[in-house]
Symmetry: C2
Subunit: 349 residues, 2 copies
DNA sequence: AATATTTACGCAAACGATGTCGGGAATTAT
DNA sequence: ATAATTCCCGACATCGTTTGCGTAAATATT
């Protein structure tokens, strides 16, 4: 089964003109007489002619499409970011091709090669939590493929980056827990390799240090798959709960980790916030509807996507090599809800 | 800024061969001597040569990509379905291009034209809630563009369709409410135009009729934007709550309607399930974490995506026009939780 | 030795659209 | 009446790849 669109050749044949004349008529060239133009345009409209973008891509060496590589689209942060990207892309006449790594290094590499070979004009990248070898993206970038990193950036490549102030976000979230009376605060983070993990953990540590809170190296845990797998969150939680330094609050550093902690607590009947307070990074739309309503660090995903898309398009359309790079740092928002409310002091019996 | 990949021409030039020889060597043609083959293959590997898919598309008149048009990717049902689609597509060597209509007719039309002109080899379509004029998709289809509908189907085109047994799902969900002691059950549905709406409403009506429940035409309400806009849900709920035939339970027929009803009830302090029981279509991952835990009708989104992708690929690869169409009907799953638990009989004071 | 066959490669066309060049016809200038 | 200038339009090359056809040289057959 095949779909054959009408071409400029077909028009030329039926109208008894040459392809060049038709092409010029459609592009409203001054070299074509008004009558011929009218004839061509009318017929093209009638036949619903649309230029074949594949032929154009081949000729122009550009596809007017940008590739987006994220870990998973079924993740509210990324789907919101993609919405932002699309809103800009559409307006500027670009197509968006989406690829997922599912936090898998090999899938990421093949997705990157796929996008490059698919001739996207630029790539918006948020690396997988498994990636420590950046040679593929570096290779592409050094050969001239425009790349903009967002959220999870690649430090080894010098380009535009769009991130959230992860340090401050984690610092403030931790502070919020401290202010609400929690003493033994654990931090469950995404894979240690990720920049966002490092920044968030540092924010957490700084807040703890500033407030002179006792700090145990063991209260910082990492989930190599960013909580995508329930079991890794379960393991970490089991370990924390059973440790002698059992925490009374947790800050979770990714969407999936946050919800999986809630799932865990519900399953193991760990009461939130009474037995364990929780604040987590999340871009879910209805965290206030959860039980208990969830305190979150919310990233401006849509705006991040928009900004990243704008930057990649500037890069693509720049005549000369871009040398001056921008790192856009947006603030995250902390929304305080029941899951981290003021600690109730246990009344002496 | 431009990314220039190595071509067969470059290889031919450096190796002192013709492009045809290089092409044939890479495709392991018998016409090329083993030594030449080895030289070419080695050099191509070294230079990380990849055939330009755009040139191939132009020649082969196919792009090895399929277009997916849904209302919104930031909707768990669709993002799960897309995951299913991608899993099949990747395995069969197809690329997936995603487009969103945002429940807007004009955006849908331009997205369809975009996909067609982008030379996708086939389209997976779930129509927007606004669409009543199907001429664009009909036109494309009649010109030979393979189309498979999923979830929200277009009745006027005869092709493969993948749906859920909406009638039974709604019938069972309504029955579940009746069994749990609810008497005045309202049904809040997506746009009346959609097939899924009609089927679901019919299932609801049939269940009510079978159990001889009093039925009021006014207890069926529609949200033209599928609940994407909070206000439309708010309006409908206000109307229901204020009517003299105030319902004691609601069945919600889309993801967004369901969560927006919860949001409404939380805001207006309408206790679920005591004042109003709720069961809704939803593919959220953590409905059990909501407050109260939410009873849902869950569609097998991933499997629907998989099946739809398989069907479109069969259609694309079929040598002769496909005439025998399949309508795959999958069962939905009802998950009973607190939001629709057995009605408490008010104790007389 | 003369002819037939095989081997190994190059040439050129094609996919759809655009842009450069060039040229014939009509009009205007000399 | 001739030269110059417009005006309109067609031929051709190009983008990267594949493929049918042609062919020189090498080998095989008689």
């Amino acid at each position: 089964m095949k779909f054959e669109a009408i071409t400029i050749k077909d028009i030329a044949k039926t109208l008894g003109l040459s392809t060049s004349t038709v092409s010029r008529a459609l592009r409203d060239s001054y070299e074509i007489s008004p009558e011929t133009k009218a004839r061509v345009i009318e017929y093209a409209r009638e036949m619903n002619y649309r230029p074949n973008p594949i032929a154009l891509s081949l000729k122009e060496k550009r596809s007017s499409s940008i590739g987006v590589l994220v870990s998973e689209i079924a993740n509210s942060f990324f789907s919101q970011a993609i919405n932002g990207i699309e809103s800009v892309a559409q307006q500027k006449g670009y197509n968006v091709v989406i690829a997922q790594s599912k936090e898998d290094f090999n899938r990421e590499v093949s997705a990157l090669q796929y996008l490059a070979s698919r001739s996207v004009d630029g790539i918006l990248l948020s690396v997988s939590s498994e990636t420590s070898d950046f040679s593929t993206i570096n290779g592409l970038y050094s050969k001239g493929m425009p790349v903009v990193c967002f959220d999870r950036v690649v430090e080894s490549i010098e380009t535009h980056k769009v991130i959230v102030d992860n340090f401050m976000a984690a610092y403030n979230a931790t502070n919020h827990l401290i202010k609400n009376g929690y003493k033994k605060i654990a931090c469950i983070s995404n894979a240690a390799l990720l920049t966002i993990s490092r920044e968030r953990v540092e924010g957490y540590k700084k807040a703890m240090a500033d407030k002179k809170m006792p700090f145990d190296e063991k209260s910082v845990c990492y989930c190599p798959h960013g909580g995508l797998i329930y079991e890794e969150v379960e393991d970490v939680m089991n370990q924390l709960i059973k440790s002698k330094n059992k925490p009374d609050a947790v800050i979770a550093c990714s969407d999936k980790i946050t919800t999986n902690i809630m799932r865990y607590c519900k399953q193991k009947k760990v009461l939130i916030p009474d037995k364990l307070a929780l604040i987590g990074f999340s871009n879910l739309d209805f965290t206030e509807l959860l039980s208990p309503s969830l305190s979150v660090v919310r990233q401006p995903a849509f705006d991040m996507g928009k900004k990243a898309a704008e930057l990649i398009i500037t890069m693509i359309e720049s005549k000369r090599p871009v040398l001056d790079f921008e790192t856009v740092i947006l603030p995250a928002e902390i929304m305080q809800r029941a899951s981290s409310e003021k600690k109730k002091i246990a009344k002496p019996l």
